[in-house]
């Protein structure tokens, strides 16, 4: 029994949101929407949780800051004391620029890395790309997708047509 995706294209974002809500009410799970631009209402219709990225970024930023500060203190004040004109070996103000920059750098790298992991990128192939008309998902098509196990596909297809989908396609994992 292989995994299938049933895809239905809707004419507008409002139609898509209404369809998603109806599909959820009918008890379908593993729903997703594919839109050319972010549509706030689809997030609500799918019941998506808040992103945890801010926490990850905060953690990485603090880690980067601590690392930068400790490195500067350890190298210039402890491991190889650098006496420049009798200035204090450990001076807070001169350590701040690099501490700040490294905090920002670590947080940004974490955000990017986390996005890639969450998206499962880079992964340029996906069964849904087998549907030629799915190309409209990044142009002007609003698609709903339901992932189902084999036998359920016809039932979802019927439901999508009933909800007013312009066209419905089914793709199977590993079909090619």
């Amino acid at each position: 029994m292989s995994r299938h995706w049933v895809l239905g294209e809707f004419a507008s974002s409002d139609a898509l949101v209404a369809a998603l809500k109806a599909l959820r009410e009918r008890g379908f799970e593993q729903l997703d929407a594919h839109t050319p631009f972010p549509v706030e209402e689809t997030f609500e219709a799918l019941g998506l949780k808040r992103s945890r990225l801010p926490l990850l970024a905060l953690g990485a930023g603090l880690g980067g800051a601590v690392f930068a500060y400790v490195t500067q203190w350890f190298t210039n004040a402890v491991d190889y004391p650098l006496d420049v004109g009798g200035r204090p070996l450990h001076s807070v103000p001169t350590n701040l620029p690099i501490t700040f920059e490294l905090a920002v750098l670590s947080a940004a790298l974490m955000v990017f890395g986390a996005l890639m992991v969450l998206f499962g990128f880079p992964h340029v192939t996906h069964p849904v790309f087998d549907v030629e008309s799915f190309r409209s998902a990044s142009v002007d098509g609003f698609w709903a997708s339901v992932a189902v196990d084999g036998d359920d596909a016809p039932r979802v297809e019927a439901a999508l047509r009933e909800l007013g989908a312009r066209q419905v396609s089914v793709v199977a994992e590993g079909a090619r």
């Binding site: 799918l46 992103s51 801010p54 500067q72 650098l82 940004a108």
Partner: protein, 474 residues
């Protein structure tokens, strides 16, 4: 008054608002019009300009090779002018880069809708400008292949970098700035690369845009994370704009040299960076919007707003000039006062007065709304401001160094052909990179324009239902 279309301003009415988007376009029309230049074979003008750009880049390569194989002695630098063109160009280029981050990050956080049409542009400009900027301190090191000595790594020399030196701060600042700008730009670009993939005309284009878009399929789950991530990167890039140029200004301000040792430098440098950056955005945007046929998304509103930013930052820069010279006088320090007098009446005085004309005088044109939206005036003014800002950086670096404390050590500075080639060469390299960007990357964010059109539609509908006029009065 509900019959008039609020999107169309009455002709000649100075109080009428320009629309943020000209006309009403469907999602498909946006995808097609904004990607038309990318999918069309390049025209003759583009190839000719690319040819010039590549020739200039070749000159840059020659100048770099001369610097590497013969040495920094081929530059006009001397003692006391140990810093000259190299650092001037560095500060100028990195300042230009700041407008990109400002437009995309700060205006995104302020939810300014007009940024959407120009942010991709400005961010690309940032990347190329920072690349050009980074080249100069690297070459100025004299032995660039040992640049990693500035990074703390457990070396066999058993020595660490000196973290009280602004040179090590520069590496952290510029490196971070380049990396974060690149990530921010690319994350914003992924959905549009997917649009380019899906509208591609040839299998080859489809393949390469497919690879570049990493497999984006516009999933709502992805959009939600993408939005948060994009906002976070914007939030992270925002303090970078301020901190990077502040650190660049510390290169000067932490020294004791008259003309450099000024507390006004960090904010003054940041304002100058935004000023010159917006000027360059305008310089490039005005011809590019025509060439790409994107006047429907880059409307007079955008030009008007950017001219206003130039006027505002122009006054901030003017305030910096006033403060700099006021404190030289107020300090009663003879060395500081001499530096100021030398700027006003000394050998570099013509440059100084040119700088005042370009940076203080020219922006005053933008008090007039007619001039703010006149592309010819705007373009020439932006160009003059770019020249003025370069002159300002040059004066700060060279005029201060050439006349320091002791008259016996004074010396004039003359740039050599290598100096000029490095400056011109980076301009050409920047132009080349920008041409390639226009050709291969959607220059205006397609998904954001669609989202913006949806918001405009919603607000127009709201107004129609409320029966209000665009000004807000019932």
């Amino acid at each position: 008054m509900s019959t008039a279309d609020p999107q169309v301003p009455a002709p000649g009415d100075p109080l009428a608002e320009h629309p943020i988007l000209e006309g009403r376009h469907s999602d498909r029309a946006y995808s097609e019009s904004l990607l038309a230049f990318v999918h069309r074979p390049a025209g003759r003008t583009w190839w000719v300009m690319l040819g010039f750009g590549l020739a200039g880049t070749a000159l840059l390569t020659v100048a770099i090779c001369v610097t590497l194989f013969v040495g920094v002695g081929t530059w006009g630098n001397n003692i006391p002018v140990a810093w000259a063109f190299g650092i001037t160009n560095f500060v100028w280029w990195i300042g230009i880069g700041h407008a990109g981050t400002l437009i995309s990050a700060i205006l995104l956080l302020f939810q300014e809708k007009w940024r959407g049409s120009i942010n991709r542009f400005a961010e690309a400009m940032t990347l190329f400008a920072v690349t050009c900027a980074g080249l100069f301190p690297l070459l100025h090191l004299g032995r660039p292949w040992k640049f990693y000595w500035l990074v703390p790594y457990p070396s066999s020399l058993r020595a660490w970098p000196q973290f009280r030196s602004p040179l090590t701060w520069d590496i952290a600042a510029v490196g971070t700035y380049l990396t974060v700008s690149l990530l921010f730009w690319f994350v914003g670009l992924i959905p549009d690369l997917a649009t380019a993939r899906d509208t591609a005309k040839t299998p080859r284009a489809r393949f390469w845009y497919g690879v570049a878009s990493l497999g984006w399929r516009g999933s709502a789950r992805h959009w939600r994370q993408w939005r948060t991530g994009y906002l976070l990167l914007a939030g992270l890039a925002t303090p970078l704009v301020v901190s990077v140029h502040t650190i660049v200004s510390f290169d000067f301000a932490v020294a004791q040299l008259p003309g450099w040792h000024t507390t006004i430098f960090p904010p003054y440098f940041v304002a100058g960076a935004v000023f010159s950056g917006f000027a360059l955005v305008l310089t490039l945007l005005i011809p590019a919007r025509k060439a790409l046929g994107i006047e429907h998304v880059v409307t007079p509103l955008h030009l008007d707003n950017m001219a206003k930013v130039l006027l505002a930052t122009g006054w901030m820069v003017t305030y910096g000039y006033v403060q700099e010279h006021f404190f030289a006088w107020f300090s009663a320090n003879p060395f500081e006062m001499h530096a100021t007098q030398a700027e006003f009446f000394g050998p570099y005085a013509p440059l100084f007065w040119m700088q005042i004309f370009c940076n203080v005088g020219v922006p005053q044109l933008f008090w007039f709304s007619r001039l703010r939206t006149n592309v010819a005036v705007l373009w020439v003014a932006a160009l003059l401001i770019n020249v003025g800002m370069w002159t300002e950086r040059f004066l700060i670096v060279v005029a201060s160094l050439s006349m320091d404390f002791l008259p016996s050590s004074w010396a004039a500075y003359r740039p050599t052909w290598v100096d000029w080639s490095l400056l011109g060469g980076t301009v050409a390299f920047f132009g080349t990179a920008f041409l390639l960007f226009l050709k291969y990357v959607p220059a205006v964010s397609v998904s954001e324009m669609k989202e913006l059109q949806r918001e405009v539609d919603a607000s127009l509908q709201f107004r129609r239902e409320q029966g209000t006029r665009p000004g807000g009065a019932p």
